[in-house]
């Protein structure tokens, strides 16, 4: 196989740039192709082809041009047309060549005709006599090429003239003639079905031809006929089944094999025919179960072509009347496709799945995680096919999630494909459609990405695009605007504010008027109003009266933000100097180093202020404990033991996780959900299914039984996977029996928040004591996390006592050694993106400072020292069930230069903090 490819590769360039074609005749052709290869611009190409065409013109009309030369000229003309240049003056010469040339010239003449002329072309009539003559030739090659051209292009009205001759050829002794005659009849059937109605019996004879090639050609006709009326051909099912059996059984000559697979394309054709025949017809389907089963079984060879056959077979199995055993086998096949690491097979697997879920939606469930992965696949084609699949399984329960995914894609498409956009107007128009239809369902990123795209382009190149956007939006705004989604209005205001000045012909007053008009609309949200006002602020001065009117009318608005903006607007429009200073055209420069504060900082330092420390270094110094405000943990106890102080009569423990706490009238541990932290609002993460790293649930009290059972189908414990699980549960809801699905879903929504998550491991109950163990995981590292909770218990029924408790956990509690080899470390290191570098204190009190320091860190933080080589050491750790962090340490004078890397952006910072701490305390 590989040497075939190699040979092919060496041969292919030769096809086009051969130097050995010594015959004079091909000289001009070779020269032409050589010049074309050396072209560097479209302009050059135009000139070259123009010259070539005028040379050809001269040559074809010269009486001295021989047929042999004409053949070469024709190939040159073919080349010119192939590049898109009109060479229609040569058409008539192509026909002449077919009429008058020797066999080789004739073939090229026919070829040129089939390339140049389409079915309706009037010149084709001039070909009819030639074809008639050649069909009756004693030279088989001439008959052959006449049949080929008849099957390619032939005037419809002239079919009766050649039909008897072509029919005759069906009983020709040579297989190639019979085969080509069948194909010509197929063409006739396609363009004029009435003309060949009377020869259906002859098709049947072709089907049973002793030559497999002739039989295979007749399948094209049958596929077409059966597609149009399957019922009329049910009696042929047996024949097709027998043929497929013979092919599968290796009865065909070896040269029909492709990479040891017998006539694969023929198999595919037969499978297509069978599926049409068996569709919604039990008795016909029963005839083919056996051969389909065999076909599924045969396709064991690991070659693309066997998968192509398998795909067709799976489709057939799901199209015909179902048979459980076959369906099961076909479903397993799909699994092989979908899970394949080969991307082409994965694609075909998705396509197969898309087809079969229409018959059995439950099949999607088996592959839900793969589907989710494919949905985020970097390959556009895979993504697109996955959406197609989702579209097929849309139902009332998952419609919102699926539509959301599709809208994501909808917006992604035009932005991603901008490079292919035929022109600016198409792009803007498409985005207009996306915004108006997708509207506020789009994610905030989509309009932002679009605006970024407009903004980041180079002024000269992309002004066209911007100009078009401005024009297009002005038209939109002049129309009916109340139905437009807010995000679209915002995009339009921003673009008009930034770029309206580019369009000289635009009346600024008109822009201001249109934008002001929007402000008056009730349907416009206050957020959008802010966008509109910002846009108005940016529109160059000169229209003070309009702006002042506007500011005046807004100054009594109830919305304080609007009032403030109106004030700003008023000041800016009156003070052009201020305006120039504030609104520098095209200034997006951000001084990220905050250098303008340098003076202030040095003054402050001189006055005795402490130098700046990044947040993770300040923790300890805070005298005020802000922790209680940091994090919330509904029920996240590492271990809580409740001793019997109050002699509770009843004692059981439940958690938010079990989901039935309401039913339990006794001891209840409840979490307090906090939404505000010291940095502001804490984003609420959807809770995820409980991951348990080291399960030890040996004892399960009755009340925990349910919780434990529901934890059974445990998802993979990485956050990413859980997001996918969650997506899966919302996408595949409502398909099939669904018990496992709804179960996953339920766990997701049992309100767990913040950066820790965990679940009850086990509860030991005694008469007056209950010990509960919780497993906790930290998803997002934080230096310290406070743990609060309450224990509720009843000393007598109806009388609940509550005890609050709290504790503090740090990232260090969640760090575990990551055992890797030096080689694995190296690989992992390269794959990690977030890094932090810092010099740390080196412990110099012992003989080997590096080893001592690393050991101290290892003892304090449970790190794994992978290797120490000379003055460098590599250390690895990870968050419990979470992201890894690699540490690279190097002795640098009296300090330890530490370089940390992790896939998690914040993790290195926190580990660094704990390392500093550990070394300081040493």
């Amino acid at each position: 196989m590989s040497d075939v490819v190699e040979k092919t590769l060496t041969a292919l360039p030769g096809l086009f740039e051969s130097q050995t074609g010594a015959a004079k005749i091909t000289n001009r052709l070779r020269q032409l192709i050589k010049s074309i290869t050396e072209l560097t611009s479209k302009h050059e190409e135009e000139n070259l082809i123009k010259r070539e065409l005028s040379a050809i013109k001269e040559q074809v009309s010269s009486p001295n041009t021989t047929m042999k030369q004409m053949r070469e000229i024709m190939v040159r003309a073919m080349y010119c047309e192939m590049l898109g240049y009109d060479a229609s003056f040569t058409y008539i010469h192509a026909i002449k060549l077919a009429q008058q040339g020797g066999v080789l010239e004739k073939r090229v003449g026919y070829l040129a005709v089939s390339l140049f002329l389409n079915e309706g072309h009037e010149l084709l009539l001039l070909l009819v006599n030639t074809v008639l003559k050649d069909l009756q030739s004693t030279n088989l090659i001439e008959v052959c090429m006449a049949l080929t051209v008849v099957a390619q292009v032939f005037p419809k009205d002239m079919i009766p003239a050649v039909l008897p001759l072509v029919e005759d050829k069906l009983s020709h002794p040579k297989e190639i003639i019979r085969r080509k005659a069948v194909l010509a009849l197929y063409k006739f059937y396609l363009i004029a079905p009435n003309q060949v109605q009377h020869i259906h019996a002859k098709f049947c004879k072709a089907l049973s031809d002793k030559d497999p090639g002739v039989m295979a050609s007749s399948l094209h006709i049958y596929l077409q006929l059966i597609r149009e009326s399957p019922d009329s051909y049910k009696d042929l099912t047996g024949s097709f089944v027998t043929i497929l059996k013979q092919v599968l059984g290796g009865k065909l000559p070896v040269d029909f094999n492709y990479h040891s697979v017998p006539a694969p394309w023929l198999q595919i054709q037969l499978l297509r025919i069978l599926s049409l025949l068996g569709k919604e017809d039990q008795s016909t389907s029963e005839l083919m179960y056996e051969v389909l089963d065999e076909s599924l079984r045969r396709a064991e060879m690991n070659h693309n072509i066997t998968y192509a056959i398998l795909y067709e077979c799976v489709k057939a199995v799901y199209t015909i009347h179902p048979k459980a055993e076959l369906l099961e086998k076909a479903a397993r096949c799909i699994g092989n496709f979908v899970l394949s690491p080969k991307i082409n097979l994965k694609y075909l697997g998705l396509k197969a799945l898309t087809y079969v879920v229409q018959h059995d939606a439950k099949l999607a469930l088996q592959h839900q995680m793969t589907i989710i992965e494919c949905l985020d696949h970097s390959d556009f084609t895979i993504k697109r096919e996955t959406l197609e699949l989702l579209f097929r399984i849309t139902n009332a329960q998952n419609v919102t999630v699926i539509v959301e995914k599709m809208l994501d894609f909808l917006c992604y498409v035009p932005i991603k494909t901008l490079t292919f956009a035929p022109d600016n107007s198409w792009f803007i128009q498409t985005m207009n459609d996306v915004f108006s239809i997708g509207g506020d369902l789009l994610q905030q990123d989509d309009p932002n990405n679009f605006l970024r795209l407009l903004a980041e382009g180079k002024p000269e190149e992309d002004d066209q695009l911007r100009l078009y956007a401005v024009e297009s939006y002005l038209t939109v705004l002049k129309g009916h605007t109340s139905h437009l989604p807010q995000c679209f209005l915002q995009v339009m205001s921003w673009v008009l504010g930034e770029y309206a000045h580019l369009q000289e012909s635009v009346d600024r007053r008109e822009v201001i008027r249109l934008l002001t008009q929007l402000l008056d609309q009730r349907s416009v949200s206050s957020e959008t109003r802010v966008w509109i006002l910002s846009a108005l602020t940016k529109i160059p001065e000169g229209q003070t009266d309009l702006i002042l009117d506007l500011a005046e009318s807004l100054s009594s608005s109830q919305d304080t933000v609007l009032r403030q903006q109106a004030q700003e607007l008023r000041h800016l429009s009156q003070d052009s100097q201020l305006r120039e200073w504030v609104l520098v055209e095209n200034s997006c420069a951000v001084d990220s180093s905050l250098s303008f504060l340098d003076g202030f900082v040095s003054e402050a330092l001189a006055a005795g202020a402490a130098p700046y420390k990044p947040p993770h270094q300040r923790q300890e110094e805070l005298s005020l404990n802000l922790e209680p405000y940091s994090f919330s943990l509904p029920v996240s106890l590492s271990s809580c033991s409740i001793t019997d102080r109050q002699s509770p009569t009843l004692l059981s423990v439940s958690s938010g996780l079990s989901g039935n706490s309401a039913e339990l009238s006794t001891l209840i541990l409840e979490g307090v959900k906090r939404v505000w932290g010291k940095d502001g609002y804490l984003p609420q993460k959807e809770a995820t299914a409980p991951p348990v790293d080291e399960p030890s649930a040996a004892v399960q009290p009755a009340s925990q039984q349910e919780a434990a059972e529901r934890i059974e189908p445990r998802p993979e414990p990485s956050t990413q996977n859980q997001d996918k699980q969650q997506l899966a549960s919302s996408l595949f809801v409502g398909l099939g029996v669904g018990s496992s699905v709804s179960l996953v879903r339920k766990l997701f929504y049992d309100g767990f928040t913040a950066s820790l998550r965990g679940n009850v491991m086990d509860c030991l109950e005694a008469r007056s004591t209950s010990v509960c163990h919780y497993a906790l995981l930290m998803d997002d590292p934080h230096t310290n996390v406070s743990l609060t909770g309450t224990v509720s218990y009843q000393t007598q029924p109806g009388h609940t006592n509550t005890l609050p408790f709290s504790g503090t956990l740090s990232t260090a509690d969640f760090i575990r050694p990551l055992v890797v080899t030096t080689e694995e470390y190296g690989k992992l290191w390269l794959s990690l993106s977030h890094d932090v570098k810092q010099n740390l204190k080196l412990l110099t009190d012992a003989g080997d400072p590096l080893r001592t320091t690393l050991n101290a860190l290892k003892d304090a933080l449970q790190l794994h020292v992978v290797d120490i080589i000379g003055s460098e050491g590599i250390v690895a750790c990870r968050l419990l069930s979470g992201a890894p962090c690699l540490l690279h340490c190097r002795v640098n004078g009296a300090a330890l230069a530490m370089w940390l890397r992790s896939p998690h952006p914040a993790l290195p910072d926190f580990i660094l903090y704990h390392c500093q701490r550990a070394l300081a305390h040493h």
């Binding site: 292919l12 030769g14 074609g21 192709i33 590049l83 020797g102 073939r107 089939s114 394309w265 292919f420």
Partner: protein, 140 residues
């Protein structure tokens, strides 16, 4: 069903084009340019199929040469992918003996394999038979 087959080099120059559905001459160049751009934009690890207007493109790269086939949605992409390779193997079989440039001969080979957008022959011996017969006659 196959809509067209193109052989294009990396610079986007068309080396062979065969349309099985009428496409105006004036529109072919830009269609071909778009097709090449679409294929060149894809990375090696991505699949060999890409959606393009109303077609699916199936492409395969041999050194600097792309062979791209435009097909309809109901066609089996992988079987076309292998058809391309079969075509290349046939070209290899023929041209490795007589390496000589000829657009016409590549077309003659292709016409034996694909007719009206259907795969009509895949047996290498049979695909080459008419061309070999022609060569023989030309020699004598």
């Amino acid at each position: 069903m196959i809509k067209f087959l193109l052989m294009v080099n990396k610079q986007g120059q068309t080396r062979l084009s065969r349309y099985y559905e009428q496409v105006e001459l004036g529109k072919r160049a830009s269609l071909e340019a778009d097709v090449v751009r679409g294929c060149l934009a894809r990375r090696k690890e991505e699949c060999s199929f890409v959606e393009f207007k109303d077609y699916k493109l199936v492409y395969r790269q041999y050194a600097a040469l792309f062979i791209v086939v435009g097909i309809t949605e109901n066609e089996n992409e992988l079987s076309i992918y292998e058809l391309v390779h079969n075509f290349v193997e046939v070209l290899d079989k023929y041209f490795s003996r007589v390496i000589m440039f000829s657009l016409d001969k590549v077309h003659i080979i292709l016409d034996e394999m694909i007719l009206n957008g259907h795969i009509v022959e895949t047996n290498k011996t049979r695909i080459l038979a008419p061309l070999l017969a022609l060569d023989k006659m030309a020699e004598s």
